[in-house]
């Protein structure tokens, strides 16, 4: 049981649009083991991103629980959730979500700076080199290509050495080769730092690189909810 880092219990997220209720997540139960690499697949609007947001403490469930590293996120205050996101989770957004006023290096060290932690510059530089963006470290996001921005977002997610890395379509803007390189890098780093990796993807090749594939449809897990199941 101690191996489980993420556990959801009857997780529901409903939105009201006009008179209609949209069930983004409708009773999701699943677990993820520590150091596991899980890919989540499903059609657009199936609830993949909503699930990832729930695990990352970015959104609040309508009902049910999300327990990450033994802590029930539903019981956390906004302040605690922010600290959770900063220290426990590394988020890689589909649209990168870099801070336009900060340069590459500052974007990467931002979560550490927020905590007032002295930045391990050797580690950050190592990350920059591995991601092939070391020479861009003083550039502002606007000057980078989509792929470069994606790699900055990855570096930022890894900078705090979080327990879990949550990636929403991290290869959505990359070609096949680039996609495989990024996923391999994420996998290697996660392994190196004993991190759990949860990736949303549309790309079957990327999905196949995971230890387990979870398939979501209409807000429910169709396949792969059991952490002991193989892909």
């Amino acid at each position: 049981m101690n191996d489980i880092i993420v556990k959801t219990n009857n997780l529901k997220k409903y939105y009201k649009i006009g008179d209609n209720i949209v069930k983004a997540l409708d009773g999701v139960n699943f677990e993820v083991k520590k150091k596991e690499f899980v890919s989540i697949i499903g059609k657009s609007g199936s609830g993949k991103s909503t699930l990832l947001h729930m695990i990352g403490g970015l959104d609040i469930p309508s009902s049910g629980t999300v327990v990450v590293d033994g802590v029930n996120l539903s019981k956390m205050s906004n302040e605690e959730l922010a600290l959770f996101r900063r220290r426990k989770v590394g988020f890689i957004f589909q649209q990168y979500n870099l801070i336009p006023d900060l340069n590459v290096y500052e974007n990467i060290t931002f979560p550490l700076d927020l905590d007032g932690i002295t930045v391990d510059s050797n580690f950050i530089e190592e990350l920059l080199k591995k991601l092939n963006i070391f020479d861009k470290k003083e550039m502002l996001p606007a000057m980078l290509s989509g792929g470069e921005q994606q790699r900055v977002a990855i570096a930022r997610a890894l900078a705090t050495k979080p327990a879990i890395i949550l990636a929403d379509e991290p290869t959505g803007n990359l070609d096949t080769k680039g996609s495989q390189n990024v996923i391999n890098l994420l996998k290697d780093l996660a392994k190196q730092y004993n991190q759990t990796l949860i990736v949303i993807t549309h790309d079957p090749d990327v999905a196949n690189m995971a230890d387990r594939i979870i398939k979501i449809g209409d807000g429910k897990i169709i396949k792969g909810s059991d952490s002991n199941a193989n892909k």
Binding site: H53, L58, D59, I60, N78, E79, A82, L83, F84, R85, R86, R87, F91, F93, Q94, Q95, N97, L98, I99, P100, D101, L102, N103, Y105, E106, F110, P111, D113, L114, G116, K137, E138, M139, L140, P141, A142, M143, R156
Partner: protein
């Protein structure tokens, strides 16, 4: 093909868009209305302020003129001035004599003045509140003020009444009956009777030596070089005094200042409109993209946006200006009167030119404000428009990694991101604060700064006016020990210094001090003959009596500073030396430095050495012909106990203590000598200045508060737009672990930096400007001081507004939505 005679589709679409987006356009409408309102109010109040400062001078000096030339003038000078196209009017006044006594009072101290028609009807009229009767035409007619009538003991008389008075002109001393042809009320010097031209012609005085010219320019704003050229071209003689009024000296600077303020307001209005339009247009970029995708050309798109703006602008300008007119011309004076801030004398001036100027300025601001947003809207292609995130990205390519506290670093970077906008906000805030600082400093010190201080900064001076010119024994104890003790016992009296005096006989000695004195005295009276006077002096030395006036040690210390060269204190206190008082004519210096003189009190002779001459008039004022010698109190006490108090110099614990002053004045009124006791009050002098100002203080307060409002409004607007633009950045920062507290800290730091820099600019440049303006108008030479409390309140207010605004804006704009909703908005 059918021709569509219906409404132009772009006009129709523009109207429909406004109808469908009422809420958003209401903000735009309010902004334009607010900017129009502010501009109109600042222009109106600023011009009113300028008009009032003109009125202050008019009331203080008793007429509307810009330059005075005293001590006579030539025909050539008068002709030159009259033919000068820059000069509107040249009035003439002339000294015609002084009144010695009336049949009701034998110690009258009033002058006789002649005014020509230009001065009386054109220049003096604006300082007059009421005139009964008319200006004297006949020889023995007088135009009087109620105050002058009171001083001559004739306060019960009216127009048509007659009385007898003894006066001195250049031909001698005469006693005649005069009739009051008119009584005037108003502002300016009231201690004169105005006489007819016929009287003046027979007075023996001449315009070349005693005339005064009053010059009024045809413009209210005159360059200093114009005044300098005029002075140069007049070829003034040595005795002529060319004096420029403080208004005309400063008017151009004040006008430039007001124009500067208006420029800042225009900048603020531009920024306000630009910010709102920018937000409004960037929020509709996708819609504009859709219109382009459906075939609307860029030209048509510009037309479409412009038409929307036209509808909103016309409506906003009309409503804003109307509110401005109602508020500044009707509501504000009423509210200030009801709240007791003013006594109903606020008189804002409606000027159609101001209305036109405000409208033109606001149209230019709208035109400039709309330019860039339209450019953004039309330069985005339909495809780009669908992915438009707002022009929030920094254009700099590279940025060095900086060290230091993250929150402060980010706050500083935020300020330097859009330097132009930041500078406008700083400038706007600092200008508002500086103007408030400057105006409140000027307003708080206006009375004290512009009054001429009494001798030794006394709160009240009481004088004994019982002496007559040629009666050595006329001095009476009008200020007796009982009165002094009663005043001294009042609560709030800080100190009292008395000048005591004894009449003395100064025997005539040829070629010595007494001879020089009488020679110089006679030279000022054209009707007197030196030999005859000396003869009379020798036979009746008591007729030419002088006074010994004694002062205490503290008073000597003050007087010694005014003498030009200090005299030995010990010698003075011991009675070895004395100071002669200036009496309106020059005494050669050899007779005022080490000149030993002999005087008699009760037939006993005494000697004293004159060491200096004092030109301050405080020790003058007694009507004896002979010299007034100032000595130490110790010395006079040693030689006689029969002294009378001549002057009392009273200082209060708190200056301008009205209650205390009223108590002293009632003691004076109760005295049997009340008619012979005169007083000079610092409080009354200040009240005169304040009355002359009219509602200048209130208008200044309104103006400075309005500017403070404009500055903060500008800041609020910029910050709201800034937060709106940074929605995605905030959501991103929160998504990767920035807490709400840290965001608030960041916003507080940003607000604090805005406040800090504005306060810094105000404390440095603002103080310097305030000091310069203060000293330029510091006629009474008072120490520069700032009203701490209002300025501290304004500074605190600015800090609070700067710090609270971003937090409120953040809460209102952002905090309602979840992070993911905000991220989705853009993604």
């Amino acid at each position: 093909m059918q021709i569509n005679k219906k409404q132009n589709p772009i006009t129709k679409l523009a109207k429909n868009t406004i109808k469908a987006n009422k809420g958003k356009f209401a903000i735009l409408f309010s902004t334009i209305a607010l900017a129009s309102f502010m501009l109109f109010c600042v222009f109106t109040i600023g011009i009113t302020y300028l008009d009032l400062s003109r009125m202050q001078d008019t009331r203080l000096y008793g007429g509307e003129f810009d330059i005075t030339i005293a001590n006579g003038f030539t025909d050539e000078q008068l002709k030159f001035l009259s033919s000068n196209k820059k000069i509107e009017s040249v009035g003439i006044q002339a000294y015609s004599g002084s009144i010695k006594s009336t049949d009701s009072d034998d110690t009258v101290n009033l002058g006789l003045l002649y005014s020509d028609e230009v001065f009386w009807k054109q220049q003096h009229i604006s300082a007059t509140t009421n005139i009964e009767g008319s200006y004297p035409k006949k020889y023995n007619e007088l135009m009087v003020s109620k105050e002058a009538l009171k001083e001559s003991g004739k306060e019960s008389l009216g127009v048509g009444d007659s009385f007898t008075m003894t006066y001195e002109n250049n031909n001698g001393i005469h006693t005649e009956v005069f009739t009051i042809s008119g009584i005037w009320e108003g502002y300016g010097n009231k201690s004169n009777f105005y006489v007819s031209k016929e009287f003046y012609n027979q007075s023996g005085f001449e315009l070349e030596t005693n005339g005064i010219l009053y010059i009024k320019f045809d413009s209210n704003y005159v360059m200093k070089s114009t005044i300098n050229n005029l002075e140069k071209n007049l070829n003034l003689q040595d005795q002529q005094v060319f004096q420029v009024s403080s208004y005309i000296e400063n008017s151009l600077i004040i006008l430039i200042g007001i124009c500067g303020l208006c420029f800042i307001i225009c900048l603020s209005a531009y920024l306000l409109i630009y910010n709102i339009l920018y937000l409004s247009i960037s929020g509709k970029i996708r819609y504009y993209g859709l219109l382009q995708a459906l075939g609307m050309t860029k030209k048509e798109l510009v037309k479409f946006i412009s038409k929307q703006m036209l509808f909103i602008s016309v409506l906003g300008i009309i409503v804003g200006t109307m509110i401005g007119i109602i508020l500044s011309l009707f509501l504000l004076p009423y509210v200030m009167e009801v709240m007791g801030i003013s006594n109903g004398n606020i008189d804002f001036v409606f000027n159609p030119l101001i209305l036109i100027l405000s409208i033109i300025t606001i149209i230019i601001s709208i035109f400039l404000g709309i330019k860039k947003p339209i450019k953004i809207a039309t330069s985005v292609t339909p495809v780009e428009a669908t992915r438009y995130y707002g022009a929030i990205q920094n254009k700099n390519k590279v940025k060095k990694v900086r060290k230091g506290n993250l929150i402060w670093r980010m706050a500083k970077e935020q300020l330097t991101k859009d330097k132009k906008k930041t500078i406008i906000v700083f400038l706007s805030l600092a200008t508002s604060l500086s103007v408030f600082y400057c105006l409140s400093t000027l307003i708080s010190s206006q009375g004290e700064r512009t009054i001429m201080p009494n001798y030794w900064d006394a709160d009240l001076i009481i004088r004994n006016y019982t002496q007559t010119e040629d009666n050595m024994y006329s001095l009476e104890p009008a200020i007796d020990k009982q009165l002094v003790s009663s005043i001294n016992n009042l609560e709030g009296i800080k100190e009292i210094h008395s000048v005591t005096g004894v009449p003395i006989v100064l025997p005539y000695v040829k070629n010595e001090f007494s001879d020089i004195w009488i020679k110089q005295y006679v030279s000022t009276k054209s009707y007197m003959n030196y030999d005859e006077t000396v003869n009379d002096y020798q036979n009746n030395p008591e007729k030419y009596y002088g006074m010994i006036k004694a002062i205490d040690e503290q008073e000597f210390d003050y007087l010694n500073e005014l003498l030009g060269h200090k005299i030995n204190k010990r010698d003075f206190l011991q009675g070895n030396v004395g100071i002669v008082q200036f009496s309106g004519f020059d005494i050669p210096s050899e007779y005022t430095n080490n000149e030993k003189i002999t005087f008699y009190i009760n037939d006993k002779s005494y000697n004293i050495t004159i060491k200096a001459i004092n030109y301050d008039m405080y020790y003058g004022g007694t009507s004896n012909i002979g010299a007034n010698i100032i000595v130490s109190k110790n010395y006079l006490d040693q030689i006689t106990k029969e002294q009378d108090i001549l002057n009392l110099n009273i200082k209060y614990d708190e200056s301008y203590d009205v209650n205390l002053e009223n108590e002293i004045l009632s003691l004076i009124n109760e005295s049997s000598y009340s008619n012979d006791l005169y007083y000079e009050s610092k409080y009354e002098n200040m009240r005169t200045i304040q009355e002359a100002q009219g509602s200048m203080m209130e208008i200044g307060t309104v103006l400075s508060l309005l500017l403070l409002f404009v500055g903060t409004l500008n800041y609020v607007n910029t910050i709201v737009c800034n937060i709106q633009n940074r929605k995605l950045t905030f959501a991103t920062m929160e998504s990767i672990g920035m807490t709400e507290k840290q965001i608030f800290k960041l916003l507080i730091c940003e607000g604090f930096l805005y406040a800090l820099f504005s306060i810094f600019i105000t404390a440095t440049i603002g103080t310097l400007l305030t000091y310069m303006v203060f000293q330029a108008m510091n006629y009474a030479d008072i120490a520069f001081s700032i009203p701490i409390i209002p300025i501290l309140i304004a500074v605190l207010l600015v800090i609070i507004i700067c710090v609270i605004t971003p937090i409120i804006a953040y809460r209102k704009i952002i905090a309602k939505k979840s992070i993911i909703d905000r991220l989705r908005e853009y993604n």
